[in-house]
Subunit: 297 residues, 2 copies
Amino acid sequence: MLQAMETLRYQPNLIARSLVTNSTKTIALISGTLKNGFFVETTDSIINLATKHGYKTMVYFEGEAKLKDIVNTVMGNKVDGILMSSILLDDPLFHEIEQSGIPYMFFNRRPRNGGNYVVLDNTRAGEMITKHLLDLGHERIAYITGEPTISTFLERETGFKKAMEEAGIEIDPQLVFVTNTTSAEVEKITWRLMNLDEPPTAIICATDTMALACMDTIMSMGLSIPDDVSLVGIDDIKISSHRAIQLTSIGHHKFKMGEIAAENLIEMIQQGERPKQLRQIVLQPELIVRKTTARRK
Amino acid sequence: MLQAMETLRYQPNLIARSLVTNSTKTIALISGTLKNGFFVETTDSIINLATKHGYKTMVYFEGEAKLKDIVNTVMGNKVDGILMSSILLDDPLFHEIEQSGIPYMFFNRRPRNGGNYVVLDNTRAGEMITKHLLDLGHERIAYITGEPTISTFLERETGFKKAMEEAGIEIDPQLVFVTNTTSAEVEKITWRLMNLDEPPTAIICATDTMALACMDTIMSMGLSIPDDVSLVGIDDIKISSHRAIQLTSIGHHKFKMGEIAAENLIEMIQQGERPKQLRQIVLQPELIVRKTTARRK
DNA sequence: CTGAAAGCGCTAACAT
DNA sequence: ATGTTAGCGCTTTCAG
């Protein structure tokens, strides 16, 4: 009988099994775009970890479809858990997800109140990276960020403002820009910034990926980093440590955020109970000084 | 009634629907690792295109589980189609996939005979990139590649050998290395290469990602590119064009391989018939000369 | 301990 | 047009 199954190459229909067991062995990953290297790293570690534990991963990237539709599909598909970076500070989706009873973990971004999540201590990251520049004598510091409806951006900027205020330095509103985080927009802003009568002596980009676009533009203009302007990012993605890039950045190091998110989710799934308490994990940032920052001339 | 459904937030159970319709609106993506920037770009475009067409994407990366197990799960899950880069030249999985009757497309890599695929003309790419170096006067050219059981690597190397032979230059076997494509191994090889009594004047890496690791190592050794050694890759991934990298490379440009693969697969799914003919698409490579190659001193 | 039957939540075919 | 029913391929329960 068992041999018969092998010779006939019997494959159980997992759809039918799911219908009765009410478990799909599938987790949904709703992630920011792979154009951002940070999400490349989380996606990679999440899928690998899920696979290792016998879970399939359904992947969605924000942008192509409406998030609400994605979440609905995900729920209709009876996934065992949800891993999601794409949540706003005040997002009606948060309550839908909570009420669904499906185990979930947010990562990188979080809702304003409550929820399970793993994030970087973004306020502290913003503060520390700014202090580094301040310590180097910079005062005219530009700040390029994304929408403040997203916790990551709001908190990093809060840290920036805090450090500036503590140093007693007024922020020039001409030097702070909210963008959609695309390279195209960062390039435009950088160009404008460096063409100012009085350009900044240092630039903070809210993510390493944005800093990379910024660097590209600065170099295209024939300017040099850090001689003409210092540049920093946040996240410390892989490519930032490349010898040809050497971007000063700040990130979490001992553990991978994607793995933490996936491990916690799988734990929640396997315990199977309604959560006794929220899982709110905040990773401490570590400054990595490389070659894109120098003392102000 | 319709309103009732809305107020009660009725979500149809897509699992149950799939069981009866025998269609899951899901495609499986079995991809090479995201550590390779090439697969970042294909994964991104594939998922986005699938989502746009109303398909969900189940993603697996090779390495974490045995490929055979992944393919079995995928089939048990009754996906509507399979997109796969992870196929060897002579791979028993190829026949299993063919016999399953599930529409599929291979991309980047292909089986030796038959199958639906979209690939770069890798032989030509290997040939062209080698000719570029030859034209610059290089003769002592190193070649770092991956396993030749994979079409991409076999064909690129074939192109390299062809160009060398046509130029009447003997390949020094001391200068060609097969690696597992990881940065760690490429670094080790590069170090050995540049410490040779007579180091190469140029290095070809079979992928841009490997070239990036190679560049990193060369720079760490205090050597300069292209003054001490010229360096090229193949794929022309995004980061290669960055002002701080400027890697000379070769790739396809007018279209994205991931999109072509996904579009063709979705077409096959929607036509619903047994394929009248194979889809074998080969993209023509285009050489992009940047700053990592120079005339031999 | 083995085998038959019920039922998961839908769709499609059929009858009203 | 509307409502009823069979059945998709499994797991689980219940009888034998």
